[in-house]
Amino acid sequence: MQAISCRKVCKVFGPAAKPIVALQNINLDIAEGEFVTLVGASGCGKSTLLRALAGLESHSSGEIYASGAPVTGPGIDRAMVFQHYSLFPWLDVLDNIKFTRQIAAHIRERTSAEVEMASGRAQALLQVMGLTDAAHAYPNQLSGGMQQRVAIARALMGRPRILLMDEPFGALDAQTREVMHDLILHVSQLERCTVVFVTHDVEEAIYLGHRVVLMAPRPGRIECEYPVPLPELRAQHMKYTPAFLELKSRIIGQIRATSGIKTDSELLEKLARRSA
């Protein structure tokens, strides 16, 4: 069974006379346990697609299935990690992670033995995420990287089968981001969950993904897909291998070709010529 499958998904908004097509005919299958990254120029609808998968945004036509069931709204089988401001600042790190245990939807389906296990799970997640010493700190006291670790741990707490990530490391500095990359790879393998990861950073997309899905704007659509020719277990040095670099330049070239960047560079050339 596919973890996620999209059939002819469209999303249109704005006035009927001048509609904006955010998603046009999206067909996408994601296998269980797969790590898929979505890249593309801004306005290509990658975040909209992810939010539609989460059930946070409705689509105009077509079907989305998650674990075989049609998506009609958010569900506990799909957890989401946002770019920022999603932690609850009035709860400390541990209580943020344990937040799902306050939600009836999670308690309903659990036996008491599982609830007992859940408190162990919060501790385990703290440890995996390197947050043990920060368990009783408030989100305000943490760096951006640490905050995102908490957000990931909180999302994983409810044992989702699918983890949706919307540019989760977009606001982090380059060094922290590299650490987070290895961390999320490690954790997603440990948890055996399916990951859909939205980013505008091509290097990040290749390094993390089994498959890179490239989207293009106006109208938002899937342009093409690239299987990543890297071994399952990733390591930082792979970023400098010819296969990696070649794929990176191909994807960047494709993004340039589909976005408005080309006209911008023409404009720059024209300006340079005039001043010369």
């Binding site: 946002f82 609850f88 009836a104 999670h106």
Partner: protein, 292 residues
């Protein structure tokens, strides 16, 4: 697993400046008197605050003593102090104060009790916002004093009439401010809870309310100040006690020092209440001041 970002402590700052033989950057840079949004030691802050409060007092002294102002227009501080003591010993200053505090707090608490759930709903649901916000916007421009005849007609002239005037003056502003506080809860927090399977009731109770609490408490503090400003208006209604009533009565007999006295006492009570709110804010939300 590698974790170069050591937990809970920032990496040591680079020391390139001292390597060049230059002094380390002055931390005091930010503490000048005229730095935009600069910081200030609490001692200096309270010194300046004391000066700010004392200067008008000194000016008042000087004007009353050396000026040529008729004491009927501007009684000196000594006369006002005498009047206060007279009011306290011969009159019923304490009773007046007590009943005024009761009226203000009751009117304010009643409006808070109703405004809080309404504000939560207006700030959360567009439907309720559309139904109630334009209406509230319309009513809040109506002067509370103009409602006095209606209040007398509807609620009579008892204690509840005074409370009703303070309620009318406070409630409509309070609802709108609380709705705005609720709307400021980051969407990402709400969506995070939604993706964790929270129901609407759970989101209201476990995300929106706790997230908006500090702003709501600030709104309560600010509207308490507004409630006090309606006191004199409220005590226009068939009152025979209260600070506002005392001011009105003193006006009739041209007892300017009594008017000064009443105004100053209201100011002092307001300031004390404001400080209590600030203290509660600090104690209730430790997670707000933890950025160090």
């Amino acid at each position: 697993m590698s974790s170069p970002e050591s937990i809970g402590q920032a990496p040591a700052a680079p020391r390139s400046v001292s390597a060049l033989g230059l002094p380390p950057p002055m931390r005091r840079d930010h503490q000048g008197l005229w730095v935009i949004r600069g910081s200030m030691s609490s001692r200096r802050y309270w010194c300046l605050a004391a000066i700010g409060l004392a200067l008008p007092l000194v000016g008042w002294f000087a004007l009353a003593r050396f000026g040529t102002v008729n004491p009927v227009f501007l009684p000196g501080p000594a006369a006002v102090a005498r009047s206060a003591i007279h009011w306290l010993t011969r009159g019923n200053l304490l009773d007046d104060t007590r009943i005024s505090i009761y009226r203000v707090v009751a009117g304010w608490a009643l409006s808070a009790l109703i405004a809080l759930p309404l504000g939560l709903l207006i700030g959360t649901y567009r439907t309720i916002q559309a139904l109630l916000e334009p209406l509230t916007d319309f009513i809040r421009y109506m002067p509370a004093a103009a409602f006095i005849p209606l209040v007398m007609l509807w609620v009579g002239i008892g204690e509840s009439a005074k409370i009703a005037i303070i309620f009318i003056g406070t409630f409509f502003q309070m609802v709108l401010m609380m709705a705005e506080d609720v709307r400021r809860v980051p969407m990402a927090q709400i969506e995070a809870a939604q993706t964790m399977g929270a129901t609407r009731a759970e989101i209201l109770e476990k995300v929106i309310l706790p997230s908006a609490k500090p702003a709501l408490l600030d709104t309560l503090r600010i509207t308490m100040g507004w409630a006090w400003t309606y006191l004199v208006v409220a005590e226009l209604v068939a009152a025979n006690t209260g600070l506002g009533y005392a001011i009105l009565k003193a006006q009739r007999f041209l007892e300017t020092e009594r008017i000064f006295c009443g105004i100053i006492i209201i100011g002092l009570i307001g300031m004390a209440m404001d400080q209590i709110f600030r203290l509660v804010h600090r104690l209730a939300f430790p997670w707000l001041q933890t950025r160090t």
